[in-house]
């Protein structure tokens, strides 16, 4: 089976209410929860079987992109013969628009038990500046 499951490209926005209601993507690759707290967003993404070394997360122009890679297992070698192969192997990527009102430089990431967790702090609200207009 050539060209199957070698690459998945998934796009999303952090604020799904602004787009058409999409069917629930439960059970899919890179399934994600995003929860908003008073001071931060937390993003949890299922990435079972991926290793930390093969996961990258980057922010560019307000878009957060998570890229992950898992080598295809050898069909048959000294390690035995693969008789069932359901787990995803290949590269997958998913992007989220996170906008400008977050502290992009302060995003923290952790990977444990096959779940990638990103903590995205909200930016301190900009207070409206009082502009004094000189009266001439």
């Amino acid at each position: 089976m050539l060209f199957t499951n070698t690459f998945s490209d998934l796009y999303d926005t952090l604020f799904p209410e602004v787009r058409d209601p999409a069917p629930r993507r439960t059970n899919a690759l890179m399934s994600t929860d995003i929860t908003e707290y008073a001071d931060r967003y937390e993003l949890s993404m299922d990435l079972a079987g991926f290793s930390k070394e093969n996961i990258t997360a980057e922010v560019k122009e307000g878009v957060l992109t998570i890229h992950a890679k898992r080598e295809a297992p050898a069909q048959e070698n000294a390690e035995g013969k693969l008789i069932r192969s359901e787990r995803f192997s290949g590269e997958c990527r998913r992007s989220f628009t996170i906008g400008e009102d977050v502290e992009q430089d302060a995003i923290r990431a952790a990977f444990a038990d096959g779940v990638l967790t990103l903590t995205i702090p909200k930016a301190a609200p900009k207070l409206p500046e009082n502009r004094r207009i000189a009266i001439s």
Partner: protein, 128 residues
């Protein structure tokens, strides 16, 4: 809600392409054993249970997430939460001692020793 999957360990073909589901499984066959790798991201050891009955191995797992409280908001909720179950037929002769399990990085790794039935001894009947 419990998701239920039942499979025969030895029929590999029908599930090809089911690569993205929860509990996706790879099975590797060795001369003396099978090795199963089952995706269970975010499931803790305490919430994964293995049962062997009549030659069928059942993996029952559950996970949950913290409820949101006032002032918090869930923007995206795709990850499956609840119970899921998957069964594999691994042969009548298999006992608990033939199975070992570990859970690392969201992958449940099982080793199932092959149970080789003793060959019935040929009985030679002496003819007088």
């Amino acid at each position: 809600m419990t998701r239920n999957y039942t499979n025969d360990l030895f029929s590999a073909a029908e599930n090809r392409g089911r690569t993205e589901g929860l509990m996706s499984t790879d099975v590797r066959e060795f001369e003396d054993r099978y090795e199963l790798s089952i995706n269970l991201p975010g499931f803790s050891k305490d919430n994964v249970q293995l049962d062997l009955q009549d030659g069928t191995l059942t993996i029952l797992a559950s996970r949950s997430r913290a409820e949101i409280v006032e002032g918090e908001k869930r923007h995206l909720s795709e990850r499956f939460m609840g119970k899921c179950r998957r069964s594999f037929y691994i042969g009548e002769g298999t006992t608990n001692e033939d199975i070992s399990a570990s859970l690392t990085d969201g992958v449940l790794f099982l080793t199932v020793r092959k149970h080789v039935p003793e060959k019935p001894k040929a009985v030679t009947i002496h003819i007088d």
